[in-house]
C-alpha cells in the first residue's frame, strides 16, 4: 500500500507551517508539535479523508528531551494511502483522539498501560492488560525484561484462617470462601459505571468467550444495558520480548499470537522484516507461502464456523468442521513438522522445501472440500433458526468500520472492500486471481456469508498456487541465501563453509538492520495484522508494535451489545471472532 503522495504532503504542509515531513524512511508522514496534534489529525480526517484508524502507539526514548514519541497510523480508503503522524508527548501527556476515532479508545488505554502516558480527556483511562494497582509500565526501556518480582499478598481466606505463608496442599485454605476485598474493588474500579443491579460475570473462564476474555454485563432481565470488556488474561508482553530478540528469533512468538492461523501471522511478520532488511524472496518461496497462508485461512475459518455454530447450538457442524480441519493440519504437519504453531516461514523464504506429494494431497483436499463447503451451506445457510439468530443482529455501519479501525471479514461484511491482499499485495497475491466478497447489511449473517465465501476464494488461490508450483523446477531455491541477513537452509549449513559462517554470524550477531521504520500489515483471517518496526540499526528492533486486527474488531463489541440479550452476545462474539492470544499479545 503506498504512503501519502507528494501533492497531499505539500498541501498539508501549506496548511500547517509547523509540521515537519518525515523523510528518508520507508514510511512517510509528518511530525507535529503536541499543541497542534489534535487539529492536525482532525484536518487529516475531515479534509484529507484519512478516515480509517489503523493504529496508535508510543516509542520510548529515555535519553531524549521529551521521553515518549506518539505514532498514529491512518488510512485513506479513497486514495488507498497511509500516513504516519508523530508527536512528542510533552510532560508525559497527550490529547486524546477518541472523539475523532473510536478505535483510539483502546489504543490509548494500551499505550497508557504500557508507558504511563496520560491522555487528557479520555473517558475511561485505566489499565488495559495489567491489573489495577500495578505500579510499573512494562514497555518503558527501564523496565527489566524479567519483570519486577511481585509480592504475594495473602488472600482473605488465608487471613481468616490465620495463615500468611504461601498455601500448600491444604485445600481447605485454597478454596476462596469469600472473594478478597481487593478482587471486588478491582472489578468495581475496572468498570465505567454500574448501571444495573444484576452484573453478570461472563468469563474469563467461560466456554462462550473462546478463550479468556472477561465480560461484565449489566443486566435488565435478559437485556444487556452495558457491557465492559476486561482483557489481559493472556498478556505475555510480546512487544517487550521482541525488543530483546534478534529478528529471526521472534518468529516463533508470532505463532503464539493468533494461534489458529500461525502461518498467516508469520507471513505478516516476515513481510515486515523483509521490507526492513530489503530481502528479495524467491518465487517458489512466495508461492509456498501463499499456498500455506490460504490453507491456514481455511483452517481458521473452519474453526470459526465450528465454534460459532456450536455457540448457537448446532453441535454437529463443529465436528464436521474439525474433520476437514484435521486434513489441513496434516498437510501443515507434513511440511512444517508442527500442527499448530508451525514456525514454517523464515526471513527470506521458507524453512523446508515442499514435502514429497504435498501438491497431490492439496489437490485432493481442494477437490473434496468444495463438496464439504456445500454441506456446511446446506446445514446452515438457509436454516430458518440460523437466519433468525443471525439476521439483523449486531449491524456495523461503514462509518463504524473506519472509526473503530475494523478490518478483515468484519469490515468487508459491512461493505468496505478492505482486503490487504488486493490493496497491498504481499507474497504472491498480486499474481493469483481471486475475488473479495463484501456484505451489504453488516450483520452477523453477512459476516457468516463473507467468511464462507472467503473459504471458496481461498480454494481458488490454493489451486492456482498448486498449478504454479507444479510448473516450477524441483530444485528451485526456496530461501534467498545470497542476502547476508538470511540464515541458509540447514543442509547447506552442514555442507558448505560459507553458509555455515553466514548462519553463525546471523545467529550470534543478529541481522544488521538499517536505520528505518516500516509498517507492513497482512490480511489475516481475523483482520489486519500489522507490524510497525522502528529500527535504530542493530540486530534487534528498537520498538516493535503489533497492530492486532482481533483487538480492534473486539473494541466495537460493547457498542454492538447495547440493548441486546445475552444470547446475542454469543452470536456477536462468534461473528467478530477474536482470538485472545492476539488481542492480548
Amino acid at each position: 500500500m503506498p504512503w501519502i503522495n507528494r501533492g497531499a504532503i505539500d498541501r498539508i504542509l501549506h496548511e500547517f507551517k509547523d509540521a515537519k515531513p518525515i523523510e528518508g524512511k520507508s514510511v512517510s508522514g509528518f511530525e507535529v508539535p503536541k499543541s497542534r496534534l489534535k487539529s492536525f489529525l482532525k484536518h487529516l480526517r475531515d479534509k484529507e479523508r484519512f478516515v480509517h484508524f489503523i493504529d496508535h502507539t508510543l516509542i520510548d526514548f529515555p535519553e531524549g528531551k521529551h521521553r515518549f514519541q506518539a505514532v498514529y497510523i491512518l488510512y485513506n480508503p479513497d486514495q488507498n494511502e497511509r500516513v504516519v503522524v508523530k508527536s512528542w508527548a510533552e510532560k508525559d501527556s497527550l490529547p486524546t483522539v477518541q472523539d475523532l476515532w473510536a478505535g483510539a479508545k483502546w489504543a490509548e488505554r494500551e499505550a497508557y498501560d504500557m508507558f504511563g502516558v496520560d491522555y487528557e480527556g479520555h473517558e475511561n483511562l485505566r489499565r488495559m492488560f495489567m491489573w489495577e494497582g500495578y505500579e510499573h509500565f512494562p514497555l518503558r526501556k527501564d523496565f527489566p525484561l524479567g519483570g519486577v518480582p511481585e509480592e504475594e499478598l495473602p488472600s482473605m481466606t488465608e487471613i481468616l484462617g490465620g495463615r500468611t505463608d504461601p498455601p500448600s496442599h491444604d485445600f481447605e485454605f485454597l478454596h476462596t470462601k469469600v472473594p478478597t476485598l481487593e478482587d471486588i474493588e478491582r472489578t468495581e474500579r475496572a468498570r465505567l459505571k454500574k448501571k444495573a443491579q444484576l452484573v453478570l460475570n461472563w468469563g474469563p473462564l467461560h466456554p462462550g468467550t473462546h478463550g479468556t476474555i472477561w465480560f461484565l454485563f449489566d443486566l435488565e432481565g435478559e437485556n444487556v444495558l452495558q457491557s465492559d470488556v476486561i482483557l489481559g488474561q493472556l498478556h505475555r508482553g510480546m512487544e517487550k520480548i521482541a525488543e530483546n530478540l534478534h529478528y529471526f528469533q521472534f518468529l516463533p512468538y508470532t505463532d503464539r499470537m493468533d494461534y489458529i492461523s500461525a502461518i498467516c501471522n508469520e507471513l505478516s511478520y516476515v513481510s515486515a522484516v523483509e521490507k526492513l532488511l530489503k530481502v528479495e524472496v524467491p518465487e517458489k518461496a512466495r508461492y509456498i507461502r501463499t499456498l500455506f497462508a490460504e490453507l491456514q485461512r481455511i483452517n481458521s475459518h473452519l474453526l470459526w464456523l465450528g465454534t460459532g455454530a456450536l455457540d448457537l447450538g448446532a453441535l454437529t457442524v463443529f465436528l464436521y468442521c474439525f474433520r476437514e480441519r484435521e486434513k489441513i493440519m496434516d498437510i501443515i504437519e507434513g511440511n512444517a513438522g508442527f500442527r499448530l504453531t508451525s514456525a514454517f516461514l523464515r526471513i527470506g523464504g521458507v524453512h523446508y522445501d515442499l514435502a514429497q506429494g504435498t501438491l497431490d494431497v492439496v489437490k485432493a483436499f481442494v477437490k473434496d472440500f468444495r463438496n464439504k463447503l456445500k454441506e456446511y451451506h446446506t446445514l446452515l445457510t438457509r436454516n430458518r433458526i440460523w437466519l433468525r439468530r443471525t439476521k439483523e443482529v449486531g449491524i456495523i455501519t461503514r462509518e463504524d468500520v473506519h472509526s473503530y479501525g475494523l478490518s478483515g471479514p468484519v469490515a468487508r461484511a459491512s461493505g468496505v472492500p478492505y482486503d490487504l491482499r488486493k490493496l497491498e499485495p504481499y507474497a504472491a497475491y498480486d499474481e493469483v486471481e481471486f475475488d473479495v466478497p463484501v456484505g451489504e447489511v453488516g450483520d452477523v449473517y453477512d459476516r457468516y456469508l463473507v467468511r464462507m465465501e472467503e473459504m471458496a476464494q481461498s480454494l481458488r488461490i490454493v489451486e492456482q498456487c498448486v498449478e504454479k508450483l507444479e510448473k516450477l523446477p524441483k530444485d528451485a531455491p526456496y530461501v534467498n541465501k545470497s542476502h547476508p541477513c538470511v540464515i541458509p537452509p540447514k543442509e547447506d549449513v552442514f555442507t558448505s563453509l560459507e553458509d555455515m559462517v553466514q548462519s553463525f554470524r546471523v545467529v550470534v550477531h543478529g541481522e544488521s538492520a538499517p536505520q528505518d521504520e516500516v509498517f507492513v500489515s497482512a490480511e489475516n483471517p481475523r483482520g489486519e495484522l500489522g507490524f510497525y518496526i522502528y529500527s535504530k540499526g542493530e540486530g534487534k528492533p528498537y520498538r516493535l508494535r503489533i497492530r492486532s486486527g482481533a483487538l480492534y474488531n473486539l473494541s466495537i463489541f460493547p457498542k454492538l451489545m447495547e440493548g441486546r440479550t445475552i444470547a446475542d452476545a454469543i452470536a456477536l462474539l462468534g461473528s467478530l471472532d477474536p482470538v485472545v492470544g492476539e488481542t492480548d499479545r
Partner: protein
Amino acid sequence: MESVIAGLIIAVIKILVILGVVLGVGAYLTLVERKVAAHIQRRPGPMVVGWHGLLQPLADGLKLMTKEDLFPRYGNRVLYNLALIMALVPATLVFAVIPFGPEFELFGYKIKPILTDVNVGLLLVFGLGSLAVYAIALAGWASNSKYPLIGSMRKAGIIVSYEVAITFAVMGPLILAGTLSTYNIVEAQIEQKLWYVWLQPVAFVVFMFSLLAETGRVPFDIQEAEAELVTGFTVEYGGMKFGLFPLVEWYVEVLSLSAIAVVLFLGGWSPINIPFIGFIDPLFFLGPLSPFVWFILKVTALFLFILWLHWTLPRYRIDQITEIAWKVMLPLALFNLVFTAIIAPVVWR
C-alpha cells in the same frame, strides 16, 4: 377381601415394573443418545466400557455417585434438595396414567397394563407437567448464583408459554374421543379405526413443538445453552444431583411426553393404521406381545426423531421461542380446537 389383596399385589408389581423400566431405560437412553449423536457426527461414541460402550451408563452413574457433594455458599439447602424431588417425582408420576397395552388375563385376574386408569388421566398429566416448573425455578433460586437464576427464569418463561399451547393442542383428540382417560382414548382410536394424527395434524405439530420446549431439547434448549449459560440451572449442582436433572428432563420427561403423544395421536398400542382401510399388523407373529412391541416402537421412533433434531439444529433465542408460542402455536391450537369443536359433532358421531 381376596380381590383387594390381589389388587394391591398387582399394583405393587406394576409400580415396581414401571419404576424399574423407566429409570433403567432412562439411564440407558444416555448411552443411546451418545451413540446416536456420535454417529450423526461420524464418530464411534463410547467404545471402551463394555462392548460398544454398553456399560458406559453404569460407569457414568458410579462416577457421579462417588463425586463430592457440593453446596453453594449462602444457598438455601432445603429448596436446593427439594428441587431435585420436585423434578423427579412429577416426571415419573406421569407414567401412572400411561397405558402400555391392552387388557390381558393372568392367573384368572384381568390386568390392565396401566397403573391407574383414572377417568381424568390427561388432566393429571398436564397438572404434573406444570409442576416441573417448580423444580427448575427452585433449583435456580436456591443455588444463589446468577447463571442458574437466568436459566431457570428462561425455563419458567418457556413452560408458562407452552403449557397453554399444549393444553389447547390436546383438546382436539379429546373432543374426538370424548374422554379424558388415556386408556379409553386409545380404545376409541382402535374402535374408530383411525389414528387421530390423521385428523389432527395441526394439533400433533403443536404438541411436538411443545414437547421439545417443555423438555428443553434443541432447538429450545436455552435454559441450558452451554455456550451462554454453561448449563443453566444445574451449574451449582454436583455429582448425582447434577446427573438427575438431565436424566429427568431429557429422558424421563421426553419418554413420558412421547408416550402421551403416542397415546393421543398414534393410537397407543395399535399397529400401523391406514385411513379408511384399518389396521395392518406386520408383527402378528408375536401374538399377544405385539401391542406392547408396537407401543415401544412408536415411543422409540419419536425419541429418535427428537434426538435427530437435537443434534442437527441450532437453538432459538428466548424471545423468539416465546414469540412462536404466543403468536404461532397458540392461535394455531385455538383455531384447531374451534374447528374441531364445530366440525366433530356434525361429521364424527
